[in-house]
C-alpha cells in the first residue's frame, strides 16, 4: 500500500455518526453543564441515545469501542474529535480517568491485579494527583511527602488539578520519600478514597473552562496507606519498577497529547461550522470586500485545522505502528491547541458581540480549549521536546 492519509470508510462512517450524535444529542446540554459545573443529571440517558458504542464503563457490561484497521490510537483520535465536536461535557462521563494508567505503567503484577484489571472489568473512575500549588511543568518539585512508619506510608501535602479527585475510587498520588533526592525521590502511591487523612478540599475547582470536568483540590493530612500501595513495591520491598516515578507519570500521559489535540480540533471545527452557518445567512450585511475577507478567513481556518489534524494523526499512527515519536506528538500539541484558540477567537470576532454572548457556545469553547493548551505540557514544553531532536540536551 502506498502513502495515504485517508481513513477507511468504516472509520469515516463511525466518525460521522458520532459527530452527528454529539451535535444533536449532547450539545444541547453544553450550556447547562458549564453553568452548573457538572454534566446533566440525565447524562446516562443522553448516552443511551448514541447509535454507536462510546466505550461506556457505567453499563453492566463494559462497552468496547469498535475496532478499525487504522489501529487503537488513530481510532482514539477520531473518537475524541468527533465526541468533542458536540461538546466536552460527555468525555468524563465515559469514566476511566488516568490513575489506573499509571498503575498499568508502574505497578507490580499484584498491583495490576488489584487496581488495574478491575477498572477494565467494572469500569470506575481513577484519580491522578501530581500538580501542586507550588509547581506546574517542573514535576521534580513535588513537595508532598511520604514518610515511612512501620508498615505504612504517611502522606502529607496538597494537590491541585486532580482529575476525578473527588469521585475516584482511588487516587494515584505522587509524593517524595526524600526531598534531597530530587526527581529520583518521587514515588507514586495508590490512595483509596476512604484512607484516613484523605481530604477533598475543593470538590471542583473554579476554572475558566471545562467547568463540568471535575478537578479537585485534595489535601493529604497525615494520610495513612499500607506500604504495598507504593507502586512498584511489594510488602517485601522494591520490585523492579516498570518505570520510575516521574517517568511513570509522564509515561501515562505521553499518548494523551495527541488526544488532547484531537479534542481541540473537534472544538475548532465545531466553531468554524457554527460560524460559517450563521454567516452564510448574514452575507447581505457585509460589504463585498468584507465578505471576501470572511470567506478567505474561513478557508484559512479550515486549512489550519486540517494541518493540526494531520500532525496529530501522524503521531498516533506511529504509536500504533510501535514507532512512537515524542517529538512528533509534541509538534502536533504545539500546533493544534493554540491554533484552535485563535480559530475560535476569530470566529467570535466574525460574528460580532453576539459571538461572545452565551447565546452561542463559542465563548464556552474558547474558555474550554484554553486548558488544552496547558494540560500535557504547554507550548514551551513541546518546543523543548522538538528542539532537542535538533540540538540535544542543550535545549532546556
Amino acid at each position: 500500500m502506498t502513502y495515504s492519509a485517508q481513513l477507511s470508510k468504516p472509520l469515516v462512517d463511525y466518525a460521522r455518526t458520532l459527530r452527528e450524535w454529539s451535535t444533536s444529542e449532547a450539545r444541547p446540554y453544553a450550556r447547562a453543564a458549564d453553568t452548573d459545573h457538572r454534566p446533566p443529571a440525565n447524562w446516562a440517558d443522553v448516552l443511551d441515545t448514541c447509535p454507536v458504542p462510546l466505550g461506556r464503563v457505567d453499563l453492566p457490561e463494559p462497552q468496547a469501542l469498535p475496532d478499525f484497521e487504522e489501529g487503537y490510537w488513530v481510532r482514539a483520535l477520531v473518537f475524541y474529535e468527533s465526541l468533542n465536536y458536540g461538546d466536552i461535557w460527555v468525555h468524563p462521563t465515559l469514566g476511566g480517568g488516568i490513575g489506573h494508567l499509571v498503575v498499568e505503567s508502574m505497578g507490580t503484577p499484584e498491583q495490576l491485579e488489584k487496581w488495574y484489571e478491575p477498572v477494565l472489568e467494572r469500569g470506575f473512575t481513577t484519580g491522578f494527583a501530581l500538580t501542586e500549588p507550588g509547581f506546574g511543568s517542573d514535576t521534580s518539585q513535588v513537595s508532598t511527602t511520604a514518610t515511612r512508619d512501620g508498615d505504612n506510608w504517611v502522606i502529607n501535602g496538597t494537590k491541585i488539578y486532580c482529575s476525578g479527585g473527588a469521585t475516584a475510587e482511588y487516587v494515584v498520588v505522587f509524593a517524595t520519600v526524600d526531598k534531597s533526592l530530587g526527581a529520583k525521590g518521587i514515588n507514586a502511591f495508590v490512595v483509596p478514597k476512604d484512607a484516613p487523612g484523605f481530604v477533598v478540599a475543593k470538590e471542583n475547582e473554579q476554572k475558566l473552562g471545562i467547568r463540568s470536568w471535575v478537578t479537585s483540590e485534595l489535601v493529604f493530612d497525615h494520610c495513612v496507606i499500607p506500604v504495598e500501595n507504593q507502586l512498584g513495591w511489594t510488602p517485601d520491598g522494591a520490585a523492579t519498577p516498570r518505570r520510575s516515578g516521574q517517568g511513570g507519570a509522564l509515561g501515562a500521559l505521553a499518548h494523551n497529547r495527541p488526544n488532547m489535540s484531537a479534542m481541540c480540533i473537534g472544538l475548532g471545527q465545531a466553531s468554524i461550522d457554527v460560524t460559517a452557518g450563521i454567516l452564510a445567512g448574514q452575507k447581505a450585511g457585509f460589504t463585498p470586500q468584507r465578505w471576501q475577507a470572511v470567506e478567505s478567513e474561513l478557508e484559512r481556518m479550515n486549512a489550519a485545522l486540517e494541518r493540526g489534524r494531520r500532525m496529530t494523526f501522524r503521531a498516533q499512527y506511529l504509536v500504533d505502528q510501535g514507532k512512537e515519536d515524542r517529538a512528533v506528538s509534541a509538534a502536533g500539541k504545539g500546533y493544534a491547541p493554540q491554533t484552535v484558540e485563535r480559530v475560535i477567537r476569530r470566529c467570535m470576532q466574525l460574528l460580532g458581540p453576539e459571538g461572545t454572548s452565551q447565546d452561542l457556545l463559542l465563548e464556552k469553547w474558547y474558555r474550554d480549549v484554553k486548558i488544552m493548551d496547558i494540560f500535557e505540557g504547554s507550548g514551551q514544553v513541546q518546543r523543548i521536546v522538538v528542539g532537542r531532536t535538533l540540538m540535544g540536551r542543550l535545549v532546556g
Partner: protein, 370 residues
C-alpha cells in the same frame, strides 16, 4: 511634536490609577457576578469625573482633551475593564449630548451627570465590520417627524438605558445622525438579555429600532454637523482600544511579577526566554498600540484630515495586541492561570469581548499559531 504628558494628563493618569487600584480592581469579581457595577463603585467613578466628558457648567467634571480621555480609560481598565467600560460607555452618551446637543438637550444632562442611578448608552455598533460611514441604521427626517430603523449590537445597558443615543445615517444626505431615545421607548426592541464571555457589568445586548419620534430627539437638531459627530463617534471607538491596552498592560505586569517569583527547573521562570520573550513582545506591542491610539485621537481632535481607516486599524491592532498579550500572560501562569484564584482569566475573557465588539475582518487576518 510633543510626546510628553502634560500636567493634566499626568494628574488624570495618577487619579485614574489610584481609583483603578483601590476601588475598581477589588470590585471586579463582585461586579461580574452581579452583572452590574456595585453602587458605591459607580458613585465613586461618577464623582471622579473620569468616565463622562461633561463640562463643569452642566454639572460634570470637565472635558479633557482626546488623548487625556484615552489615558483615563486605559488606567481605569488597568483596574478592571468590566466596571470601567460600564461607566465609560454610560458616560459616553452624556459626552455626545454635551458636545453636540441643542441647549434643550444639554440641559437634561445636569441631572444625568451627577446621578448615581442613571444608566445611559450609545447604540453604535452593528457588527459586519461597519464603521460610522457604513452604518445601516437609518434616520429619516420628514418635516417634524423622525424615524429610526436598524439593529444595533453590543448596546450597553440595553434594557434600561436612558438616554439611549442611537447613531445612524440620514437617508437623504448620508450624514451621520444621532437620535436621543430611551430603551423603554416604543419601537425599541431589546433582545432577551444573556450573559457574555465578559464585561457583564455593562449588561450589553442587541436592540432593534423602529421608532418614530420628532426632530426634538435629533442630537444637535436638524442642522447638526455630521462630520463633528463622526469625529466624536470615532473617538468613542478609540476608548475601547484604550481599554484593551490597559487591561493587557495589567495582565502582562501580573504575569511578569509571577514569573519573577515562580521557580521551575531551579530558577525563576523569568529566566527562560520562552517565558520572558512573549511578555517583552507584548510590552513592545502595547507601546506601539498606545502610540497609535494617541496619535489618531489627537488628529481626530484637531479635525486633521484623518482617514477613517486609521481608526479602524488602531482599534484592530489594540485588540490583536490585547488578545495575544492576555493569552501569553495566562500561559505564563500555566495551569494556575486557568483557575479563578488568579485574575488573568478575567482579562483574557475581557479582551475577547472587546475584540468582537468592534471588528473589521479586513484590518487583520487569521494566522495559525505556527
Amino acid at each position: 511634536m510633543n510626546l510628553s504628558p502634560d500636567e493634566e494628563q499626568e494628574a488624570v493618569a495618577e487619579l485614574a490609577t489610584s481609583i483603578a487600584t483601590e476601588i475598581v480592581s477589588p470590585a471586579a469579581r463582585e461586579a461580574e457576578a452581579a452583572g452590574a457595577v456595585p453602587d458605591k463603585v459607580w458613585a465613586q467613578l461618577v464623582e471622579s469625573g473620569l468616565t463622562a466628558p461633561i463640562p463643569e457648567e452642566l454639572g460634570g467634571g470637565g472635558v479633557p482633551d482626546a488623548v487625556t480621555q484615552l489615558v483615563a480609560v486605559e488606567r481605569l481598565a488597568y483596574g478592571d475593564p468590566g466596571i470601567t467600560m460600564a461607566a465609560v460607555w454610560s458616560g459616553a452618551a452624556g459626552g455626545l449630548i454635551a458636545r453636540h446637543g441643542t441647549p434643550e438637550q444639554t440641559e437634561r444632562l445636569r441631572g444625568l451627570a451627577s446621578s448615581r442611578d442613571a444608566r445611559a448608552a450609545v447604540a453604535l455598533f452593528e457588527g459586519f465590520g461597519r464603521g460610522p460611514a457604513e452604518l445601516a441604521t437609518s434616520v429619516t427626517v420628514d418635516g417634524d417627524s423622525v424615524r429610526v430603523q436598524g439593529r444595533k449590537v453590543g448596546v450597553p445597558f440595553a434594557a434600561i438605558a436612558d438616554p439611549l443615543v442611537v447613531v445612524g445615517r440620514d437617508v437623504r444626505d448620508g450624514r451621520l445622525r444621532a437620535v436621543v431615545l430611551a430603551s423603554t421607548d416604543d419601537g425599541v426592541g431589546v433582545d432577551e438579555m444573556t450573559r457574555s464571555i465578559a464585561l457583564d457589568a455593562a449588561a450589553m445586548g442587541s436592540v432593534t429600532f423602529d421608532v418614530t419620534t420628532t426632530t426634538h430627539a435629533l442630537l444637535g437638531g436638524v442642522d447638526a454637523d455630521g462630520d463633528a459627530l463622526t469625529s466624536s463617534v470615532q473617538h468613542l471607538r478609540l476608548l475601547n482600544a484604550a481599554a484593551q491596552i490597559g487591561l493587557a498592560q495589567r495582565a502582562v505586569e501580573y504575569a511578569a511579577d509571577y514569573a519573577t517569583t515562580r521557580i521551575a527547573f531551579g530558577t525563576p521562570i523569568a529566566g527562560f526566554q520562552g517565558v520572558s520573550f512573549p511578555l517583552a513582545e507584548a510590552l513592545m506591542r502595547l507601546d506601539a498600540a498606545r502610540l497609535e491610539t494617541k496619535d489618531v485621537a489627537d488628529r481626530l481632535d484637531l479635525g486633521a484630515g484623518l482617514g477613517a481607516r486609521d481608526v479602524d486599524h488602531a482599534v484592530s491592532y489594540a485588540s490583536e495586541v490585547a488578545l495575544e498579550a492576555t493569552r501569553d500572560s495566562l500561559q505564563t501562569l500555566g495551569g494556575h492561570g486557568f483557575i479563578t484564584d488568579h485574575p488573568v482569566e478575567i482579562w483574557y475573557r475581557s479582551a475577547a469581548a472587546l475584540a468582537a465588539l468592534d471588528f473589521d475582518p479586513t484590518c487583520s487576518a487569521f494566522e495559525p499559531a505556527l
